[in-house]
Symmetry: C2
Subunit: 549 residues, 2 copies
């Protein structure tokens, strides 16, 4: 926390100031537009961009993360709040803050309890399917503000502004950077300058609205934006705590996932250590701050954070400067903000979100692992059909489902001795010798509740195909852990084998696993021995067999 | 399906008939009592015991499984239906059937889609905590019928009957079998005969009620039981489909888990193969049959199945005989069933459920793995505080949580060469030699979304502590699979290392994993080589270093 401030070097200042300015110029249209996605007045998006990044700078773990409103989180906020607010704008704002508070407290607690491992509940294909599905929902939701009327109808001046803005923004994305480079600007600088296009398009459109009085012709505009910094606001709605609890958990989870994936991308570029538990704490504190200053749930945004990094940000000072600039914009006369045309804000959202429609993950998964590709598709369709909240649940269930499914297919090899050696290998791959009175199995997986059933079934199958076996040797060289369920399964297997007069032996049990087993009764009740190596076990069991014919 | 019938041997008949009779004697009080737990008229419990076991005998996979009403499933049925039925007994019965239908269809579909691996979503400690929590909820719910009034009040004649029955049943459980053995009965037979105690106690109490007119003194009795077999009944409530969908999934899952654990215990005793997908199909068909014949959700019960097995059942014919006997009981004059005192039925439930209060799993988990013990406790408390439905969700989340938590701590060893050999070992455990320009790491876990973050973090940590390393060798001997998330993480690690001028090499990649990797672009973009063995890799990298100083 604030470690970077103590060791701040003056050389970093120019980069931090420049990046702060660029990101502030991105934040103004983005923040206002995402507030509209969340069903809130545009100024809420600016409020959510001031205090949260400052607080994140104090507690978060990523140096160049830009924390603030983000498309998917805004969409989810709107989806959660709208049915509860019953059309009351005041209640809507209170509930959005309350949702940020709940998510913030959850994130903070998870961070303090060191539960950063929770990110492992979503696989990358599921996250990608979730993002693409959410992006499509966002685009669909923006069609009405873009056209000024429900599709296929349109309000001509609004549609002209909105579609014109889309054309300009797409052209800017495709050609602005090369154009600037041809004008002699460096490649890096040109890329960054092109990120200012949305702000310029919005400013131009606002000028058009002011000049031609388009607001009077039915073009929706942002409306009066209250001047001044956000006030401390701790209003909550007492009867909605329970209704917001589960959604708060879900949105907190998504906030964490989105922010972590952005921060990881940057940390790898900077060769920097990212601590997921610090990230949880930073995001938690930022969301609580967002609630207190009239905002809504916030997270780290990859698009803004990447620009922040590329524009030269070295420390979180860039985010603080950005927040200060946004604060200044609110203290200055805010009249010009009131005339921003909503169709153009919708256009900026649509073009921004189109960038999230990546199909690379799906393509790779399709070639590499069909189960992952299926998980991608089901999550994406889940978001589209069941909504974004249910989509998160679908994603977790699918991630866990693929995990358990894979776990339920452990690799188990029947071992034989490579003639004349001390080596034992899979008889399917090597010309290894087996003996009828002894069955040797190597389990190539940790033993836990997700695969004990499959392991037991396989052991019984092998015993049925080796009816002469009087001894079963489990080679544990690949087993790094055993959980309580597996311990019970081993005990039950032991009891069952004992009844049938078959010895159960273990070999090559790893140190940590053996330490664990000593805490259980298994070594005492084992109907056989524990051997150091497979060779020792095979020799012993073979010689014993000769002695007791 | 019905394979056992074609190969039926006459010697099995005596055992099957005897077991069928014993289990029918258990079924009558149990079925009626569990119907009351589900909030249904007692006869529904008998209906649920006739058609479902016959259908299960056709499709199920366990030879001696006794399918029918079961305490926890009945409790869950009641908890799901009661808020929806708004006190209407007719609607309650329709919804109970509809719930069985939904659960049955879900189970059937899961079986046809070969999703037996779903059992892996619950660890044994979680299942044990769930069972103990549910048992306590059941006991608590039976206090009122036991005492004839809400505790601490009691209706004296009812409480006398109920508490008296408890004392008798507990005494029978403790001393009846030894007593019968002392009278010359064999140990096995005595154990089985003692299982008839509940039926005898209920019959005795019914006689008392009839003799002394206790029903007239306020002792609640079962009331008129319609004579005759259940009629085909396909009534459903059209507006409740959506409300019952999620509970139907949950109860289907629990039905499967309970039945599987019972069937596994028996299959191991019989050295018999159990196919989880067949079990799903059998249970699905049985539940649909239960709906069609006026019953409610059913499952395999360990207590009854164990008695069935111990009483000599060899094939599912035992279950069919049991069902036929129950059918005969319903065709015969049912007047005597009407006077069964509810306090005594409550007593049979309480004593039966006390047997499920096992703390052995908790004790073992506590010594063996505290995380599992915590999962036990949280699930149990979850059921008690949040209810049985939420308890299932808590259980799944905890099972998955412990799994992801463990996965997020993969074992990774820094390897060194045992001087003068081709062997490479963990430098923390062996006196192995490392070289400053080369870092060798062995990942002892499959690479998947749950641990890629931890692996990447560890790799970066090691690179920071080995700043002179120009080559990173990942030894993949313990990696049996790589999922899409891990593939992306490896690609990103590769890109990051390339930028820093560090080579990324792989060694000892297993055959199936290498086959998978060839479907991806990783081998092409790899900033290094793939080696057959660690020794070859170490020699090559070392000699190359000498060449390019």
């Amino acid at each position: 926390m604030l470690q970077w401030l103590r060791s701040y070097r003056r050389e970093a200042l120019a980069g931090d100031v420049g990046a702060g300015f660029i990101v502030a110029m991105m934040m103004i249209p983005q923040g206002m537009a995402y507030a509209l996605v969340a069903g809130l007045p545009p100024v809420a998006g600016l409020y959510a961009s001031i205090l949260p990044p400052i607080i994140y700078a104090m507690f978060g773990s990523s140096m160049t993360q830009s924390v603030g409103p983000m498309a998917i989180v805004a969409l989810m906020t709107g989806a959660i709040i709208t049915p509860l607010a019953h059309g009351s704008p005041g209640l809507h704002a209170v509930l959005a803050g309350q949702l940020a508070l709940i998510a913030g407290v959850v994130l903070l607690l998870c961070g303090l309890l060191r539960m950063g491992f929770l990110a492992g509940f979503f696989s990358r294909p599921v996250m990608s399917g979730f993002t693409v599905g959410s992006s499509l929902v966002i685009v669909h939701g923006q069609l009405k503000p873009l056209l000024g009327a429900s599709f296929p109808h349109m309000h001509l001046p609004s549609a002209a502004l909105g579609l014109g803005a889309i054309v300009l923004l797409v052209l800017a994305r495709l050609y602005l950077s090369p154009l600037l480079q041809r004008c002699g600007m460096g490649a890096g600088k040109a890329d960054i300058a092109s990120k200012l296009a949305p702000m310029l398009v919005v400013l131009g459109a606002t000028a058009l609205v002011a000049m031609f009085g388009l607001a009077g012709q039915g073009v929706a505009v942002t409306g009066a934006v209250p001047s001044g910094l956000p006030q401390l606001n701790l209003a909550t709605s007492s009867q909605h705590w329970y209704a917001l609890l589960k959604p708060g958990l879900l949105i907190g989870f998504i906030i964490f996932l989105i922010s972590m994936s952005a921060a990881q991308t940057l940390a790898q570029k900077r060769n920097e250590k990212l601590v997921s538990n610090h990230e949880l704490i930073g995001l938690g504190a930022a969301n609580i701050a967002s609630m207190a200053s009239g905002g809504f749930p916030v997270t780290g945004s990859l698009s803004r954070s990447a620009v922040n990094f590329a524009a030269g940000a070295v420390t979180p000072l860039a985010s603080i400067i950005c927040a200060v600039l946004l604060g200044l914009a609110l203290i200055a006369p805010t009249g010009w903000l009131a005339l921003m045309p909503l169709p153009v804000l919708a256009a900026t959202i649509i073009v921004a979100v189109l960038g999230m429609l990546e199909l690379d993950t799906l393509r790779t998964a399709w070639r590499f692992d069909r189960a992952d590709a299926l998980a991608w598709a089901v999550t994406c369709i889940g978001v589209l059909v069941l909504g974004i909240e249910a989509g998160v649940v679908v994603g977790v269930v699918l991630s866990m489902g693929t995990l358990i499914w894979r776990a339920s297919r452990p690799h188990i090899a029947v071992l034989g001795r490579i003639a004349g050696t001390e080596h034992f290998r899979n008889i399917e791959r090597y010309p290894a010798e087996t003996q009828p009175e002894m069955l040797m199995l190597r389990v190539d997986a940790n033993l836990f509740f997700g695969n004990v059933e499959a392991v037991t079934e396989r052991v019984e199958d092998e015993l049925r195909t080796h009816p002469t076996a009087r001894d079963l040797l489990l080679v544990m060289s690949a087993v790094n852990s055993i959980d309580t369920t597996a311990l019970f399964a081993l005990s039950e297997l032991n009891a069952s084998l004992k009844r049938r007069g078959i010895g159960l032996h273990l070999a090559e049990v790893k140190g940590p696993v053996m330490d664990r087993l000593r805490d259980s009764s298994l070594p005492d009740i084992l109907n056989g021995k524990i051997f150091l190596s497979t060779a020792i076990a095979a020799d012993f069991l073979h010689s014993r067999k000769k002695e007791t014919p």
